[in-house]
């Protein structure tokens, strides 16, 4: 690890002020990606601004049919929250299968969403449930937020404060995890909402993406049989030592059908 200045502000305003004007300063939420990167000396920030001391950023609130989860809420807390389990059980289930217990007790929703790792689980939920991402400067709709590999609509110095998920009629998330890291080789989140069906895929491309053909078919007939003939092109999908693009394309179909079946249970 290279030397850096460590800050632990108590308020969001302090955090934003500390980051301001420092080009090489990095905010840190759970540190589940940043700390390993620092330990490997693959990054050399001048300052690390730890958001862990900001009480206003953690916690789960319910208003009507909308669950709002603070950016610093840990995966474990989402997975056991009675409110999340009652209103969006698929989201609690997803959170309970991220990484391993250590990651779930340190990693945060805001960190995962801001990082936009191509194999992270939360981005699939954010897109499929048509969530709204609130930051210190404004709000972002889920569509268009995830721009590519580790790239989001967030500007430098912009911090996620909370993410609001409207309650779906039905939803489920199914992933094929890498057995070592538990990252999604492919994960598919299917949600039947009042505005139609949304299908979001993570792990397969450079960032989470929606599958329009499946959404159209499922909007007419919400059964796994309705999408059994829909093939996903392997072009532009990820290919690595764990699986080829063709394999991932196949998995998208399998995970999507399993998710629809699970949502219908």
């Amino acid at each position: 690890m290279y030397d850096f200045a460590y800050h632990r502000p108590k308020s969001l305003a302090d955090a934003v002020a500390t980051l301001k004007g420092k080009e090489e300063a990095r905010p840190m939420s759970g540190g589940m990606t940043l700390i390993p990167t620092l330990k490997q000396r693959l990054a050399k920030p001048s300052d690390v601004v730890d958001l862990g001391g900001i009480a206003e950023l953690a916690g789960i609130k319910v208003a009507g049919d909308v669950v709002t989860i603070g950016a610093m809420t840990k995966h474990y807390d989402v997975s056991v929250s009675p409110d999340v389990k009652k209103i969006i059980p698929a989201l609690a289930d997803l959170a309970g299968h991220i990484g391993d217990p250590a990651v779930r007790n340190r990693g945060t929703m805001g960190g995962s969403v801001a990082n936009s790792d191509p194999a992270a689980d939360y981005p699939a939920a954010v897109v499929a449930l048509n969530a709204t991402i609130t930051t210190n400067t404004g709000k972002h709709p889920a569509d268009g937020f995830f721009k590519g590999l580790f790239e989001t609509a967030l500007k430098d110095g912009e911090l996620i404060t909370a993410i609001s998920f409207p309650k779906p009629e039905k939803a489920a998330y199914m992933k094929f995890p890498n057995p070592a890291s538990r990252y999604a080789m492919v994960g598919v989140f299917v949600a039947k909402t009042k505005d139609g069906v949304r299908v979001a895929v993570t792990g397969a491309g450079s960032a989470v993406f929606r599958v329009k053909a499946m959404e159209d078919a499922l909007s007419k007939n919400f059964t796994s049989a309705a999408i059994k003939d829909i093939k996903i092109p392997a072009t532009d999908l990820n290919s690595d030592i764990h699986g080829s693009a063709e394999y991932r394309a196949h998995l998208v179909g399998v995970m999507a059908r399993r998710a629809v079946d699970a949502a219908n249970k």
């Binding site: 990167t37 693959l42 050399k44 990082n115 191509p118 590999l149 450079s206 990820n238």
Partner: protein, 153 residues
């Protein structure tokens, strides 16, 4: 690992080929390029700083042009040392074809990464290489042709 793509550039082929050999244009289009100095007509040294997600690494290395066949294309290769981060090398075979007064640029990238970056980032290397190739050729197509490309494959 191989990555392919195609860009349509609204400029004649001779002009596109000249731009592919123009140091100032290359420097402007290579993602994260801080300096690019010409050693000869086919060799340059470069300093590149890449920031992808949590990783931020500086590379210094060599850029070589070979298999030069004006105005049909060439091969551009780069090789860099990133200190403790590891090393990266890669090349792109670039082909230019005429298409009704415009130029179709197609490329095929082959990249290798070693050292620490490869160990911790194995699952991300292809996505990263594709993103960098798209940034380079996208910006190149934009700066050489006007208006910007109609289709990026």
């Amino acid at each position: 690992m191989e990555i392919k793509g195609e860009y349509k550039i609204a400029a004649p082929r001779d002009k596109v080929f000249a731009a592919l050999n123009d140091q100032a244009i290359l420097q402007a289009c290579i993602p994260g390029c801080e300096t690019l100095e010409k050693l000869s007509d086919t060799e340059m040294t470069a300093k590149v700083r890449l920031r992808i997600g949590p990783v931020s690494a500086g590379f210094s290395g060599k850029v070589t042009l070979s298999d030069i066949d004006p105005p049909n294309g060439y091969k551009i290769s780069g090789e860099g040392q990133g200190g403790v981060a590891g090393f990266a090398k890669g090349g792109a075979v670039v082909k230019l074809t005429e298409d009704a007064g415009e130029t179709l640029l197609s490329y095929e990238v082959d990249a290798q990464v070693g050292g620490k970056i490869a160990q911790v980032g194995a699952r991300l290397i292809q996505g990263t290489a594709k993103k960098l190739a798209d940034q380079f050729f996208g910006k190149f197509a934009e700066s050489v042709g006007a208006p910007p490309p109609v289709a990026a494959a």
